[in-house]
């Protein structure tokens, strides 16, 4: 299996070749002294030249979140051999930014209306969730396109709140 793993702007080619009872791992085309095992709790233990890496890898589409004793890595997997059906990321039209609720809560205040010009980091909405009031701030400067919620309304995780252009 031959994959390209992306981290930020780096591309790391990884190949895993099945051998006699043991796989061999190639990184950047070079064979790596790599002893790996899937642990009974689902993590991977990887020993590279004696260094211990104890990691969980959670896949979600082509994204992979690796966490463990060496830190946290947001990786993307691409499979040039096309074994995986590429999941098309849902991309907003350029310039338009849609804000959605991160978690369930209640809209306490709506501080802007469509057509308002807002600066980066300006408050847009106040949502109460888990006993805390949280201000939703503008991720960029722009003009408010649409406001989908009103004060007092309950929102669920993922609900569309407003869009900025």
């Amino acid at each position: 299996m031959e994959l390209e793993i992306r981290y930020e702007d780096q591309v790391i080619p990884v190949e895993i070749r099945g051998g006699e009872g043991k796989d061999t791992v190639f990184v950047f085309g070079k064979e790596v002294s790599c002893d790996w095992v899937r642990l009974p709790d689902g993590r991977y233990s990887i020993l590279v030249d004696g260094r211990v890496f104890d990691m969980t890898a959670e896949l979600s589409g082509e994204a992979c979140l690796v966490t463990g004793n060496a830190g946290t890595f947001h990786l993307r997997i691409s499979d040039p051999r096309g074994l995986m059906s590429q999941s098309v990321a849902e991309v907003a039209p350029p310039g338009l930014q849609r804000l959605v609720a991160e978690m369930p809560g209640k809209v306490l205040r709506v501080l802007v209306k469509p057509g308002d010009t807002v600066a980066y980091d300006q408050g847009l909405l106040v949502i109460e969730a888990m006993k805390m009031q949280n201000e939703i701030r503008a991720p960029k400067s722009g003009v408010v396109k649409e406001v989908a919620v009103s004060e007092g309304r309950a929102v669920s995780s993922g609900d569309f709140l407003l869009s900025l252009e």
């Binding site: 994959l3 990184v27 899937r38 890496f53 060496a70 074994l83 995986m84 888990m130 949280n134």
Partner: protein, 504 residues
């Protein structure tokens, strides 16, 4: 001793009190809302009673339903924990009226300390230093403006019935006062059903240090050292320690004796905490008294070697304090990190959800007071505190080293937590040097360095883990493929690779 005690709370504090009951041979009784049927505190209790739907106003804040559960179970006493009804004099009175012992101070003591302005005037009369400001609830924004002009900006607006940072606003200049006044009042109204507020001189870069006291009904009272609680974000404590790096024996004794006189001024019984602001010159001002067990009580327990909840229950039972002031010796240092289901990368926004994996740290010098278990879903209805991680060391540096080791071992997946934030905070040289103030966290968040680029070896290992997980998933996908038996497509790929060699 009581045979049965009802715990009118949830989460980690309910679990902690259940444990204390068991250790005293008392049968613990839980109450729960519909959102907490599967919660740890229900599982660990001997009995559990449903007290209503998820909103706390209809369950954990319902005096009637909690007293009904106490009646039904036959519990002789109620431990309120912290938050919810813990400092509600009406609840204390209702318990007294229905013949149930409340494990805490009397309704009268609670009432006198609960009204912050009344408490301030009372203590000024007893000669206790307080921060300059108003001694009566503010009647209007105009009155606030007047007082603020007199004592000078910046000033702090606070809720008269407040606590826990709710209804508080820092006001730097007069033109900010009206909005802040409105915001503070409405927050206070929502949180405490009382919009009344007062105003105090704002002390720059103060330390927030509190003294733990224990008092019985026979006139005995002791203090058990201080807790350094300066590390706060939005007036919420983040990390606490005992002892404070700046308190020496002389200051401790002076603060301790002041705390005892505060307790005596309101005929205090049971465990309580007297909070002080300490300025850069070592002057200390009474802030408020918390008439309940504090979230951060474990740091005192580890350093003083006393179980405060055991003591609370014994005192409520009418026992005399088994400890005299001279029995209390502090040893070593303890730190507490409050582990929240929140995302520090997104302005500490709450992050409820299912805990997919949970491995709590173990070993020397640690204590985890947790209210959760693997597989459980952190509900959206309550405070997102999921656990308290406490580390003890023979000195502060050993305690910090232990805490860092513990955070490395701690694994919580499925929800975001502030563990990484604590890892960075504990590595901060200013923190390690003990140069703390209530402004510390704000400043730290400003100077927190960007994550360094990962070591290339770590990154490559992570890439291998990702590839393995991908291969593992593909191998488990429909079809008979497994790691050792190749599926047709895998075989095809291999042939292809072998034919053309490895592309560089």
């Amino acid at each position: 001793m009581f045979r049965k005690v009802l715990i009118a709370n949830r989460g980690e504090i309910a679990v902690r009190i259940i444990r204390a009951c068991r250790e005293l041979g008392i049968s613990p009784v839980a109450v729960y809302s519909e959102a907490d049927r599967a919660s740890l505190h229900v599982r660990l209790a001997d009995e559990a009673y449903l007290i209503g739907p998820p909103p706390s106003t209809e369950s954990y804040l319902s005096v009637e339903r909690i007293l009904h559960a106490a009646k039904r179970s036959g519990a002789e006493a109620i431990h309120p924990g912290y938050g919810f009804l813990a400092e509600n004099p009406g609840f204390a009175q209702a318990c007294a009226d229905s013949g149930v012992v409340l494990i805490g101070p009397s309704a009268a003591s609670m009432r006198r300390m609960g009204n912050k302005t009344e408490a301030r005037s009372l203590l000024v009369q007893s000669g206790v230093a307080v921060v300059p400001g108003t001694f009566e609830p503010l009647k209007s924004v105009e009155e606030a403006r007047e007082v603020a002009r007199r004592i000078g900006y910046p000033v702090m607006l606070k809720a008269a019935s407040g606590g826990g940072g709710k209804g508080m606003r820092l006001v730097e200049a007069e033109n900010r006062l009206p909005l802040a006044f409105e915001a503070a009042s409405s927050e206070a109204q929502r949180a405490f059903s009382d919009s009344a507020g007062y105003l105090e001189k704002y002390i720059a870069r103060p330390r927030h240090i509190e003294i733990q006291v224990l008092a019985d009904r026979h006139g005995n009272a002791i203090f058990l050292g201080e807790r350094e609680c300066s590390l706060q974000r939005r007036h919420q404590k983040v990390l606490e320690e005992c002892p404070s790096p700046v308190v020496d024996d002389t200051l401790r004794l002076r603060m301790g004796e002041t705390a005892l006189s505060v307790a005596r001024a309101v005929d205090y019984e049971n465990a309580g905490t007297v909070e002080f602001l300490v300025d850069q010159e070592g002057n200390f001002y009474f802030l408020e008294m918390n008439t309940r067990l504090q979230v951060e009580h474990p740091v005192t327990e580890l350093v003083a070697g006393v179980d405060l909840v055991h003591e609370q229950i014994r005192i409520a039972c009418g026992h005399r304090l088994g400890l005299r002031q001279e029995d209390i010796g502090l040893r070593g240092c303890a730190l507490e990190c409050r582990i929240y289901a929140e995302d520090p990368e997104r302005n500490f926004f709450p992050s409820p959800g299912r805990i997919e994996r949970l491995v709590e740290p173990q070993g020397p010098g640690l204590r985890v007071d947790s209210g959760v278990y693997e597989g459980w879903e952190v509900p959206i209805h309550y405070d997102p505190l999921i656990a308290k991680l406490v580390a003890f060391g023979s000195d502060r540096l050993q305690a910090i080293a232990r805490m860092r080791r513990a955070i490395q071992e701690y694994c919580i997946q499925g929800i975001r937590t502030n563990l990484d934030f604590f890892a960075d905070l504990l590595a901060d040289p200013e923190f390690q040097a003990g140069r703390l103030s209530t402004a510390f966290i704000e400043e730290f968040l400003g100077r927190r360095p960007p994550k360094p680029a990962p070591a290339s070896q770590s990154l490559r290992a992570a890439a291998v883990a990702a590839a393995l997980a991908y291969q593992h998933r593909e191998a488990r996908a429909p079809g008979p493929a497994s790691r050792r038996t190749m599926s047709p497509w895998r075989r095809a790929l291999r042939t292809d690779v072998q034919r053309r060699g490895w592309r560089r």
